[in-house]
Symmetry: C2
Subunit: 278 residues, 2 copies
């Protein structure tokens, strides 16, 4: 049996009781390590589970799925995913491969950022399409996420922005030389996301557009949701530039139409309460 097990968002103890029992009975336990991270590392998980973990990077899962699934007809294999197992497309792919090989599978769900963002008080029902904001480079500055945010905003919906994660990336130089040397991991902060968004707002104005999202749009910055030191800051997009939220992972919400109860909740996390008085 293949078990896909969500680990939730905080630390080792955010696994469910059911998930923990399954991990402890499995022959092999993989830890997916490229779509998200916990506030604790592999070692802390191994100690808590009393079980050795095999790190599964993107290459392993996408190109060597058969290694993960090996002998899963006869034994139990667990595949651990931070958050919920179906946050990322890759994991559907693993399920499909298992089914094709005749291996039964089971999912043990957990919180993911997609529902845990509700902690800021915005109604989950009122979110439109989720977008990903990627790190810009000198030569590649995509703006397509801005159009999706705008579409949600026009429909009165909030947008959850997942911020880029760069894990096990090679510099162009190392890639070309065929050297398997990787850059240190990078996690986009709310401030960087806000800077990129504000740059797009400027671009759009220069193109004669009147953007629906502006410096004054109410946003929410979230860091380490679900962990003890979780931080939430609400304020304008401009204010997000200087919000101090600490270490990764960060996410950001661009709000649509706000319900009075949502405003009351956002006030709890306001950088500057005056914004929410009107």
């Amino acid at each position: 049996m293949l078990y896909l097990i969500g680990l939730g968002l905080g630390d080792a103890k955010d696994i469910t009781v059911k998930g923990l029992e399954v991990v402890q009975q499995c022959s092999r336990v993989y830890l997916e390590a490229y779509t998200s991270i916990l506030t604790v590392g592999k070692e802390a998980l191994e100690e808590f589970y009393g079980k050795e973990l095999i790190l599964a990077d993107r290459e392993t899962v996408e190109q060597n799925a058969d290694t993960v699934l090996k002998d899963a007809h006869q034994c139990d294999v667990a595949f651990l995913v931070v958050g919920d197992p179906f946050g990322a497309t890759t994991h559907s792919d693993l399920v499909l491969r298992a089914v094709k090989l005749g291996i039964p599978y089971r999912v043990i769900h957990n919180a993911s950022i997609l529902n845990a963002v509700g902690c800021c008080g915005l109604q989950l029902y009122s979110f439109g399409e989720t977008v990903s904001i990627v790190f810009w480079t000198d030569t590649w500055k995509p703006e397509s996420f801005f159009d999706k945010i705008t579409k949600n905003k026009k429909n009165g919906m909030h947008t959850l922005c997942l911020l880029d994660i760069k894990v096990k990336e090679q510099s162009l130089e190392n890639l070309m030389r065929g050297k398997k040397i990787y850059d240190p991991p990078r996690y986009m902060r709310v401030n960087e996301a806000a800077e990129q968004l504000l740059a797009i707002v400027q671009n759009r104005r220069q193109e004669g557009e009147e953007p629906k999202v502006t410096e004054d749009t109410v946003c929410v910055g979230l860091a380490r949701v679900g962990a003890v030191d979780q931080k939430i800051a609400s304020g304008t997009l401009q204010e997000m530039i200087t919000a101090e939220l600490g270490g990764p992972l960060h996410s950001m919400i661009i709000t649509g139409i706000l319900h009075p109860l949502e405003i009351e909740m956002l006030k709890l996390f306001a950088v500057n309460k005056v914004i929410f008085e009107n």
Copy 2:
């Protein structure tokens, strides 16, 4: 301290290890009992936690929140919610009351239907606004959810439809006589939701509209997501009328634009695979 603790979706063991530890240390533990249900009852939870639970119905939480929060300055109080604590607005309200009374709070997240629906293989990023489908009565047949589904569909997005739950409802007769006699709980099934949707499709055609959602729209019916006996059926809206999904809770998804990998996943649950061959 007030703890809001998500229970996940299946049974007693879907609580997180952290959640279980907190429950066991709390002076009072409330179980919210009107926005969702687990596949097990209060007694099974009490036995597993080794702790007595106080059932909190809508009245208790909305009108007697002070009872829930009593002495929470000095002692720990847990408020258990099926799924994740921020699925329903009511719980924001409880947080706001706690903050006003100077009571600190913490949230222990878990899976909710809003992210666990990913198990059918549809990408969570591609969902638009979530809607609720309510039981029609002889005199009240609202159609507003259909317009939201249509809007999502036009934007290529999937729609998660949460199906009505009637718990502790009084008949008009008992209400007028002031008798606190309650009807047995009712949970809308996918079949009933599909019937109501098809009735709206007919109405719209009679009004000269050409509805975006029709008999042939691909839908997914889900029952008891996260439980061992979870059931998923994919097919046309027409096929949902006869889908056999068993006991509650049910949810339904009306799909938008389908990605090839999504189609591959939906095939696993197809009532009739031919639908997905084109």
